[in-house]
């Protein structure tokens, strides 16, 4: 009996988030007729596929008790590198591989510095953020548009679903990333070591687990996900821009935390992160549907709604306990 309650408690934040998500959707559907179509939900995914991929990488880092502030800048760097190389006529596949390698390497480097010099992830990835953002400006201070055939195809070809609905290829990619991440976290040694480190790094070390390797890998994964997120953003906007994804690290962290992953590490699920992204997306969509709010008001309302949401989430979990 104690275990039943224990495992129920573990899923509680996710269940609470899901319930509130359904509530928010119901509210939207009651207010606006168009909201009730399933395509609205899919559109949220389409508009946020890149954020989802970035947030999945962030989930790995936060589960170990770390943080990665560089993701937004790496996303921007990836869009710019893609745009610039494509403009120079490099084959899109080579571009893809190169972008992923750059992102992964940046993450790997930061991870190594964090682990071997025993530095705070906050400060190291902050430096990484400045570095990546700075590199953007050395590539171009202006937006570079993408006209490459492969990229435009990826951007414009919808993937049809039953019932006349559709998603973008980016959503398909994001869902694949999600499935891989969930598998790695729950069925591989790497994944379980991530949780162990979040539980207690000292214990993980004394248990003989590969702490160094895992910690560095986690930042490499986050770098890789950011690079991929950058590619998806390039699909979405068909441009490379140093001003893309400013502040996206905070959206990603927010999504992870709303999804029930604890900032000190050790508990949480990547599925929760998906819900977190959906929450951010649905709030945004509600505001768009309202249509009367001017742009800075959107931010304020997002802030207020987010606030209401997390308080409700806490109340729901507490009541259920």
């Amino acid at each position: 009996m104690t275990t039943l309650t224990a495992s129920r408690q573990r899923y509680l934040p996710i269940i609470a988030t899901f319930a509130l998500l359904v509530g928010a959707y119901g509210f939207g559907a009651a207010q606006y007729e168009a909201f009730a179509s399933g395509q609205v939900v899919l559109n949220i995914l389409i508009d946020n596929a890149f954020l989802l991929v970035v947030a999945i990488g962030m989930t790995f880092v936060i589960l170990t008790g770390g943080i990665d502030l560089s993701v937004g800048a790496v996303v921007a760097l990836s869009t710019l590198v893609s745009a610039r190389l494509l403009a120079a006529g490099v084959s899109p596949l080579v571009v893809l591989v190169l972008v992923l390698v750059i992102g992964g390497t940046l993450g790997l480097g930061m991870g190594a510095v964090i682990h071997y010099f025993e530095l705070q992830p906050f400060i190291v990835t902050l430096a990484g953020m400045f570095l990546a953002r700075g590199l953007c400006y050395t590539i171009s201070v202006e937006s570079i548009s993408i006209t490459d055939g492969f990229f435009t195809t990826m951007a414009q070809t919808p993937v049809s679903l039953p019932g006349g609905m559709h998603v973008s290829t980016s959503v398909v990619i994001a869902v694949i990333v999600l499935a891989v991440a969930a598998y790695v976290l729950h069925f591989t040694r790497l994944g379980r070591t991530v949780y162990a480190i979040g539980g207690s790094e000292q214990s993980a070390m004394l248990m003989g687990l590969p702490v160094a390797r895992t910690k560095i890998t986690v930042y490499a994964i986050s770098g890789l996900c950011s690079a991929l997120g950058g590619v998806l953003l390039a699909f979405y906007t068909l441009s490379g821009n140093a001003l893309h994804a400013v502040g996206m690290e905070l959206d990603a962290i927010a999504a992870v935390v709303i999804g029930g992953t604890i900032l000190t590490g050790g508990t949480g699920y990547v599925l929760g992160t998906v819900l977190g992204v959906l929450v951010l997306g649905i709030i945004q969509t509600l505001i768009t549907f309202d249509g009367t709010l001017s742009s800075w008001w959107t931010k304020i309302v997002i802030g207020a709604l987010l606030f209401v949401f997390i308080v409700l989430q806490r109340l729901v979990s507490r009541r259920a306990r």
Binding site: S7, H186, F187, T188, R189, R192, Y195, S203, M207
Partner: protein, 498 residues
């Protein structure tokens, strides 16, 4: 010889923890490493397994010189270790804590069902039946300790190192562990065993090595040394015995009830019980692993809140919903879990000791630095905390000395009711005697004490009255006139059904 360590030297800033220590371990023996708190036992183990590097000296495993880069490397070479503090991940399941890093896999995919079965088998060796998918954090320290041992047993090791594995186990689990150790020894494994329980040492070990203040005192055959000689070598002088304690326990003249619990209970924690505690009385809680001793104590302190019954303090009903409320009524609780519920490792001894007094004064009235220093100095002296440096970080103290700091913190708040949950866990026998005397003296001065210990002898030595618990239920309340451990065990066995 499986293991030979020669001329080992290890210094920390300000202390030489090991000074030219030699140690050898033969296959098929249980070798006890003995010494007072802070003698250097755990440091020797950490040096062996590569947690710390050495400043001088050599380590040979099966004749080959080795220098491990860390516990992972030591494990691969066949040295399996249970470190002193429970070093597991509370957020993971019991099964994972046992098998993490060695999970059964197919094509890299962890197979959860066989993993749980394997974990259950390993626990069964220790006579333990648990739901292995439950998170470790929900378990008592004793269970956590057993889980750590089960983890070490799974490794195909040549050398098994156990640093105070029995410190929170009661006699049943200890017997079980010793039996497992005997089997392994007979299979040829070399076992290094650290404990402060002299009887366990004589029950199981073949040879022993004694350390004192980081120096080697000597290596002895267990058959050729007596317990008294051993203790003398450990502390460097003769130990005053506990016999005088019996007379110290004075007749209480005033009978004034401090606290009364009527039908207090909590679902899933402990069945409703009634209990009155008088001033100057020591009430012992006896029971086996999981019998609800800690749960009872936590209710009295408001760390968990009761879902039924009433508690009265000074004959006035009170609501002990939080520890703060309990502290305000003069109730103090010294937790069994010093690592996660007690000490702040990065603060100094002085700061840790001052914490509780400060909290009871409220944060708006800070204790002066000078006052803190006085308090720390006097506690260090009273409990013989080593090193006697109030500015040492608590995380750098040996396990037993950390326990003394925790104890000191609550003692100086001068509570009216002091709840001690395993206060002598990991404390050496000299200091243990001192602590027991202290408890008796405090009671004589009018403090009420609730005393919890897995060691029945200790409970009986100190208590005026003993509450016997079984299956989360108080089954008997016995006045302690010449009770024996056997009587208590019998009461536990028949569930108090006289």
């Amino acid at each position: 010889m499986v293991l030979r360590m020669t001329g080992i030297r290890k210094r920390f800033p300000g202390v030489v923890a090991l000074d030219d220590v030699d140690f050898r371990l033969l296959p098929g023996e249980v070798h006890a490493l003995m010494g007072e708190n802070g003698a250097g036992k755990s440091t020797l183990i950490k040096v062996l397994t590569g947690v710390y590097g050495v400043d001088a000296g050599e380590i040979e495993l099966a004749g080959e010189p080795v220098s491990f880069t860390g516990p992972a490397a030591a494990q691969r070479a066949g040295v399996s270790t249970v470190y002193q503090e429970v070093n597991l991940c509370p957020n993971l399941s019991i099964a994972e804590n046992i098998l993490l890093g060695r999970e059964p896999r197919r094509f890299g995919r962890i197979r959860w069902a066989p993993m749980r079965r394997r974990a259950e088998e390993l626990l069964a060796r220790l006579d333990l039946e648990l739901d292995v998918s439950a998170p470790l954090s929900a378990q008592s320290i004793a269970v956590q300790q057993l889980v750590a041992i089960a983890r070490a047993l799974d490794v195909d090791a040549r050398v098994l190192v156990l640093d105070e594995p029995t410190s929170s186990l009661d006699s049943h689990e200890v017997d079980r562990l010793l039996a497992v150790m005997r089997t392994l020894r007979d299979e040829g494994m070399a076992i290094l065993f650290v404990t402060h329980f002299i009887d366990q040492v004589f029950a199981i070990s073949d040879r022993m090595t004694v350390l004192r203040n980081g120096k080697l005192v000597g290596e002895y055959e267990t058959a050729e040394i007596t317990p008294v000689e051993l203790v003398t070598r450990m502390i460097g002088k003769e130990l005053a015995t506990l016999d005088e304690l019996e007379q110290v326990r004075p007749e209480r003249t005033v009978r004034e009830e401090l606290l009364r619990a009527e039908e207090v209970g909590r679902a899933g924690g402990i069945e409703p019980f009634s209990l009155g505690i008088q001033r100057g009385e020591v009430v012992g809680l006896a029971g086996l692993l999981g019998s609800g001793r800690t749960e009872l104590a936590r209710l009295l302190f408001g760390a968990d809140h009761a879902d039924q019954g009433t508690i009265r303090v000074d004959d006035k009903p009170v609501s002990l919903r939080t520890p703060r409320a309990a502290i305000a009524r003069g109730i103090a609780f010294c937790s069994e879990n010093r690592k996660t519920e007690g000490l702040v490792e990065d603060l100094t001894v002085r700061e840790n000791i001052a914490l509780a007094v400060q909290a009871s004064r409220g944060w708006t009235k800070p204790l002066s630095r000078k006052r803190q220093e006085e308090i720390a100095e006097s506690s260090i002296k009273a409990l013989d905390i080593r090193p006697a440096n109030p500015e040492a970080k608590v995380g750098e103290l040996s396990g037993g000395n950390q326990q003394k700091v925790l104890l000191a913190r609550w003692l100086i708040t001068e509570p009216r009711l002091l709840i001690l949950d395993e206060p002598t866990r990991g404390i050496d026998i000299g200091a243990k005697t001192e602590i027991q005397k202290l408890v008796t003296r405090l009671a004589a001065e009018g403090m009420a004490v609730v005393f919890i210990s897995a060691e029945l002898e200790e409970v009986l030595r100190l208590s005026d009255r003993v509450l016997v618990l079984r299956d989360r239920q108080v089954v008997a309340q016995l006045d302690n006139d010449a009770l024996t451990p056997e009587q208590i065990m019998a009461t536990i066995a028949d569930g108090g059904a006289e």
